[in-house]
């Protein structure tokens, strides 16, 4: 290892905090020209923060970047581009109605004098870049007529046209077929062979193991493992991603759940590629976890159950009665609630009061007289006050602007929104994201409380530890399908992660 030449890109001591949360902590990483460098880790482990820092989108609190022996400051995206770093995100930032050529040259066309574009020279640059990776389709076609795989090639050409020496790719195969993936792997290997460094970010561990010359594993903002080809197998990789073999120790004693008569049931629920033939049962007083990676279909499943999207096949039943598809008011009327993933953009009316935000879903019950549309401000205030006390929400006054509360207290207020007599099933999407550890425990206590009160709680979380300590049963999804169900003491972080990556098992070497 010591005999290796100095790496082309050297990151040293990167740290980054967001509020109180540590996203990156003393991260060192080396990327050589001509290598494929795999980057793996659970959601929120720090991979994106590292990439965003290198791309100049965010600035780390501490740390240095040395490129080709020169310490380089990357304060904005143009700095990264100037230094020869290119980034290709899953969303593929292409202009859909521009041609491939225009996209390849976007922002950096060859110019004649007075800013007039030299199309001849531009075409030559674009074609040269595209030929390096063997692009077969004509570059004059509009990008929105191309397949996703072809768009990846356009993005790579774009990076090459700017003389990129390192290209970071985020989940390149997420929406590619097997054949397309294999073609892309060929391109990646050729690029590496020609001296370009590839930073390859993926949840598909088999791919990473197969492609990478070196793998770096992130957990909780730190680099926990760096291995060269052959040093790690899949099991070792998963162990490095999870970190510890604990969880059972921190679990509270189990609640005995009567699993004879489900209150809520999903039957072969299907919508496009996101959710495929998903079935599960929820029993009264139970906390059911939905595990899986981001994009595994958990949020989509919750939105379907809640009527935010329409089903293509299958259905949901509440106490044996079918729930109409695609109507939120119908779901709410039957007693299904949702605490959404994005607290601020999907949950809160930030300019309004705590009491307003808590009461908005149950206004009918706060009328002075049931038949007349007039609200009783006394009832509204009393309900809000009761829930503030019950969930110990820290606010000076229920009439305070909710935007001024801490994230944890905002989240509790959103849970409180659904604590009403008619509510039978409550989906909680990432209930403790972005809140501190104390608030997280209080939120967990609140969820346990509502389950004890007879509400069926369904918790979606990318944080496996949260699922392990909170849930009575966990259903794990991978790429839209259920890959396993685990109950009681079987629920460990290790097992949840294994099932989260289980699509590879079904196609790959394990079975």
């Amino acid at each position: 290892m010591q005999s290796e030449p100095a790496a082309w890109l050297q990151v040293r001591d990167f740290s980054k905090h967001f509020g109180g949360a540590r996203a990156l902590s003393e991260v060192d990483i080396d990327i050589h020209r001509g290598e494929v460098h795999g980057l793996v880790g659970a959601n929120g482990a720090g991979k994106s923060t590292l990439i965003r820092s290198l791309a100049g989108v965010i600035t780390p609190d501490t740390g240095t970047v040395t490129i080709d022996g020169v310490e380089t400051r990357i304060a904005r995206p143009s700095d990264a581009e100037g230094a020869g770093l290119a980034f290709i995100h899953q969303e593929l930032n292409l202009v859909p109605h521009f041609s491939s050529i225009e996209n390849i040259l976007l922002g950096a066309p060859k110019q004649k004098r007075f800013g007039i574009i030299d199309w001849k020279a531009s075409r030559r640059v674009a074609y040269e870049a595209a030929e390096r990776i063997g692009v077969q389709f004509p570059l004059d076609r509009r990008v929105d007529e191309l397949s996703v795989a072809e768009r990846w090639l356009v993005m790579i050409s774009k990076a090459l046209a700017r003389d990129a020496a390192m290209i970071a790719m985020d989940e390149p195969t997420a929406s590619l077929s097997d054949v397309e993936s294999n073609q892309l792997f060929g391109v990646i290997r050729d690029l590496a062979a020609s001296g370009v460094g590839i930073l390859y970010v993926s949840h598909r561990l088999d791919e990473v193991l197969d492609l990478s010359d070196r793998i770096t594993v992130f957990r909780d903002g730190r680099v926990t493992e760096t291995a060269v080809r052959g040093q790690l197998d899949k099991r070792g990789l998963i162990r490095a991603i999870v970190g510890r073999e604990m969880a059972a120790a921190t679990r509270p004693p189990h609640v005995e759940v009567d699993r004879t008569d489900p209150i809520f049931e999903a039957k072969s629920v299907t919508r496009g590629k996101a959710v495929k033939d998903v079935s599960f049962q929820l029993y009264k007083g139970e906390i059911l976890g939905l595990g899986g990676l981001v994009g595994a279909g958990r949020t989509e499943l919750a939105r379907l159950a809640f009527g935010a999207d329409k089903l293509e096949a299958g259905g949901f039943e509440l106490h044996g009665e079918p729930v109409p598809s695609g109507s939120i008011p119908a779901a709410v009327a039957r007693g299904i609630g949702l605490v959404p993933e994005e607290r601020r953009s999907q949950g809160l009316m930030l300019e309004k009061s705590v009491s307003y935000n808590m009461n908005i879903a149950v206004l009918q019950s706060l009328r002075t007289v049931p038949m007349l549309p007039f609200l009783s401000s006394g009832k509204a205030k009393a309900r809000a006050q009761r829930l503030v006390n019950q969930l110990s929400i820290k606010t000076s006054n229920v009439n305070e602007r909710i935007g001024g509360l801490s994230g944890g207290n905002q989240q509790k207020a959103l849970i409180a929104r659904w604590l009403a007599p008619g509510v039978k099933v409550l989906f909680l999407d990432e209930p403790s994201r972005g809140v501190d550890i104390g608030a997280r425990q209080e939120i967990h206590a609140a969820i346990r409380q509502l389950a004890d009160d007879g509400i069926g709680a369904i918790v979606i979380s990318s944080d496996v530890e949260e699922l392990a300590v909170l849930c009575d049963r966990v259903v794990v999804l991978c790429e839209g399908t259920v890959t396993g169900e685990i109950v009681g003491d079987e629920i460990t972080e290790q097992r949840i992660i294994e099932l989260s990556y289980a699509h590879i098992d079904s196609q790959g070497e394990e079975k």
Partner: protein, 337 residues
């Protein structure tokens, strides 16, 4: 280490408290600035022309003139509360003014049937606007401008029929009557309409839902609120309010005149935005709208008392509109802590 640290923290604290004070002052200016402006105008006009401006008849005159604007602006407020726009209201008012005279003077419908019919038509037009915006998903600016423009044409078509002479006295009496203490009818009508809308917005579930839709439409939808219906109601209300203003204007003029109420659109917008920067931080509300209307009316009254040339009026109106939207935007920005 410590000695160097101490002064720095003091400086930082001082800077922070400075920032806080500045923020506080800005907040006061944005919340009460419009009210201060209104009072300032009243004081200035009173000092300059005490015998003309500060008289009961002049104030009744100002209120009376404000009534029509206040009603149409209150309807517009409802659409802005749900986060939409209605650019058709002026045209709806003009159209309603033509229809009501046609129904009563030409077709001989009783006033008590003709007017409700016109208000119903106003509600229908508003609902069409709402349908286009929510179900067909046309941008509100385009949809309402399209509907409004079509109404101009329909107005032409309708008024090409000969309108029989003589609008009945009882119709004219609606706007010109002074039942109590010499206070003109439109002031009462305005107070009733604004009170109803205020109660709807602040005291009913529907009003709370409207505010939720305007505050965060995705959160409202995920709370089980039927967002489209709530929006359609707001548009329908705006249509009814425009029809009331149009009817009152025809009663005041004693005839149905083409394009008579078109100009209310800009007045209403200016008033609503001035109002949103009043008392609240950029939120649209009925009381604010009323204050906005009064600011514009007092300003115009002052202009005419001091004999400003007529070209000055559109300049004043344009300036007020820009100022109003600017203030409203500032108020919203500074409310974000």
């Amino acid at each position: 280490m410590t000695p160097t640290l101490a002064p720095r923290t003091t400086v930082l604290a001082a800077a922070a408290s400075n920032g806080n004070r500045r923020r506080k002052i800005l907040m006061i200016v944005s919340r009460y600035g419009t009210l201060i402006g209104l009072l300032g105008m009243i004081v200035a006009f009173t000092i300059k022309a005490p015998t003309v401006f500060l008289t009961v008849p002049n104030f009744l005159n100002i209120l009376n003139q404000s009534s029509l604007t206040a009603i149409i602006a209150a309807g517009l407020t409802m659409t802005l509360v749900v986060g939409e726009f209605d650019l058709s209201i002026g045209y709806v008012a003009s159209f309603a003014g033509l229809l009501v005279v046609g129904f009563i003077a030409r077709d001989g419908l009783p006033v008590l049937i003709g007017i409700p019919l016109v208000l119903l038509i106003g509600a229908t037009i508003g609902t069409v606007n709402g349908f286009l915006v929510t179900k067909v998903r046309i941008n509100a600016v385009i949809a309402t401008l399209g509907v409004g423009t079509a109404l101009v044409g329909l107005g032409f078509a309708y008024s090409s029929f000969p309108i029989a002479s003589g609008v009945p006295a009882e119709f004219v009496a609606i706007a010109l009557g002074k039942p109590i203490l010499g206070i003109p009818n439109p002031i009462f009508i305005m107070l009733v309409v604004l009170s109803i809308l205020w109660v709807i917005l602040n005291k009913t579930d529907l009003g709370q839902k409207m505010q939720a839709v305007g505050g965060n439409i995705e959160a409202a939808r995920l709370s089980g609120i039927r967002v489209d219906r709530v929006k359609m109601f707001a548009f329908a209300t705006a249509g009814v309010c425009a029809a009331i203003t149009g009817t009152l204007l025809s009663s005041l003029l004693g005839s149905g005149t083409l394009a008579a109420a078109d100009g209310y659109l800009l007045d209403a917008f200016a008033a609503v935005f001035l109002g949103s920067a009043t008392l609240r931080d950029g939120e649209f509300h009925i009381l604010g709208t009323l204050i906005g209307v009064l600011i514009i009316a007092v300003g115009f009254n002052g202009l005419s008392i001091f004999g400003a040339p007529t070209f000055f009026q559109p300049i004043f109106k344009g300036a007020i509109l820009v100022l109003a939207v600017g203030l409203s935007t500032l108020a919203r920005r500074y409310s974000k802590a």
